[in-house]
Amino acid sequence: MALIRVKLPAHLQILAGVSSEIELEVEEPATQRNLLNTLESRYPMMRGTIRDHVTGQRRPYLRFFACQADLSQRPADEPLPREISEGAEPFYIIGAISGG
């Protein structure tokens, strides 16, 4: 299992009653899909807020970053960077700067 740090936007912190960073034990290989599956399993109140319930697609106003790179468009089953899977760097879920 990989111990992965995840940084959450403020709205989801409030929704789940957690702080800005959480830790998740993710089944290896540590991929976006496995990470998000684990996140939604442990915090079911976030189901549907990051990925569409039915299609599993990332919601359009959200992006994923890690190690100063945008992973939003990377394949869901691609292994995450080693720094993420080893817990050295966090995986960021970030909302678009928009709205009022």
Binding site: A10, L12, S41, Y43, M45, R47, G48, T49, L62
Partner: protein, 395 residues
């Protein structure tokens, strides 16, 4: 002791305003769900401590919240904090925000597209819940009006939702087009005398009715005239903004349309215009006095292009004759330099002996009249833009 609780949904959270029956001193609680849009919040008529709320943002989508203690604490139905992530059946929890259109074809042909603004086919995409209407008899049963327009229903307190698909599938759904605010089902009226009868209204498709609990639906738009569509008297395509009824006469309906205030005395089979002497018949809200079924309230706006009060004067108009003859109600309301909007779900009435009327503005004010509309005071002045107002009454 009599009291009221006003449930206010805003662009940046929910607020609960409480007072005794005098409605002079108010306790303000909130923001609840700070930062999220609360499109609508409503209590169960069967259990007034049970509240349902539609919480949404463009970033994170839809959340349904439920409270069992009048809004002090909340949970997503089926997903309480700290509980198992899967239910007893092994299915994952966290489905209270899962609204999936029925494409099974069991209620007519699968409906895959509606019309986009330019008339081209566009797939149905769930965006948000505009309105939650708890059952009049079952606390676990709630109807949800959503965008893109459809009616959903839960029978387990909001844990899971199923589409009442006969509405979209009745035959005209593929021709529905969105209004400026989206293709939204915003009005749900449950007939207190006939549990099989439900009215809904959709912008910009029109009004619809079922007489068999949601299985079959039909448009009820005869008599409406809308100049913005190719055939002004078409069966559908009318931008209905709001419908209201008095529970003692559920066959009598009052409608604020995009333009025109309308009335039906036959459950929507036909409509007649009752705009009468209003300074403008554009507006969003309409409501009926709690004890006088022929007394109705609207709040005229200048036009669809200028969605603020005519002459900068915030005036509620009251008709005591079921329409056509209207009087402005201005005492306590700003009569100059007022350019707020009052959105379609943002007016409500209480049922105290001296009927209270409430409305919220996009400027963040929530006004109350404790004397049938004769005079008004602002309960609060500086909330985020108000999206919805509901009232609960303890006589």
């Amino acid at each position: 002791m009599s009291r009221v609780r006003v449930l206010v949904g805003t662009r940046k959270g929910a607020f609960i305003l409480s007072s005794d029956g005098k409605r002079e001193k108010w306790d303000i609680s909130g923001p609840i769900f700070a930062g999220w849009e609360i499109f609508h919040m409503k209590g169960s008529p069967v259990n007034k401590e049970r509240l349902y709320a539609s919480q949404t943002t463009d970033w994170f989508g839809q959340i349904i919240q439920r409270s069992e203690d009048g809004g002090k604490t909340w949970e997503q139905p089926g997903t309480p904090h700290g509980e198992q992530a899967t239910g007893a059946d092994g299915m994952p929890a966290g489905e209270s925000n899962k609204f999936v259109y029925d494409t099974s074809g069991e209620n007519g042909k699968p409906l895959l597209t509606h019309q986009w603004y330019d008339g081209s086919p566009h797939p149905w995409e769930f965006k948000r819940v505009w309105h939650l209407e708890p059952s009049l008899t079952e606390p676990d049963t709630v109807f949800a009006g959503v965008e893109d327009a459809a009616l959903f229903k839960t029978i387990n307190g909001g844990k899971t939702w199923q589409e009442v698909s006969g509405l979209r599938g009745h035959g005209t759904g593929s021709q529905w087009q969105p209004g400026a605010g989206g293709l939204c089902l915003h009005t749900i009226l449950l007939d207190p005398d006939n549990s099989e009868r439900i009215y809904t209204a959709i912008s910009a498709a029109g009004a619809f009715r079922t007489d068999n609990g949601g299985k079959d639906w039909k448009p009820i738009n005869q008599g409406l005239r809308s100049e913005h569509i190719p055939n002004p008297t078409a069966e559908i395509g009318h931008c209905v903004h709001r419908i209201a009824l008095h529970p003692s006469r559920p066959d009598v309906l009052f409608m604020q349309k995009h333009w025109d205030v309308m009335r039906s005395d036959d459950a929507g089979e036909s409509w007649v215009e009752i705009s009468g002497n209003l300074p403008s018949d554009f507006g969003f809200v309409i409501d009926v006095h709690a004890h006088e079924p022929e007394t109705i309230y609207v709040l005229p706006l200048k036009s669809d292009g200028e969605r603020f009060p005519p002459e900068g004067k915030l005036r509620v108009y009251r008709s005591r004759s079921g329409g056509n003859e209207w009087e402005p109600l201005t005492k306590g309301l700003p009569q100059k330099d007022c350019y707020v909007n009052v959105l379609r779900d943002a007016m409500a009435v209480d049922s105290l002996e001296a009927c209270g009327i409430y409305f919220g503005t996009t400027g963040g004010q929530v006004y109350c009249s404790a004397d049938n509309g004769d005079s008004w005071t602002a309960i609060v002045r500086d909330l985020p833009a108000v999206l919805s107002v509901e009232v609960q009454t303890w006589p």
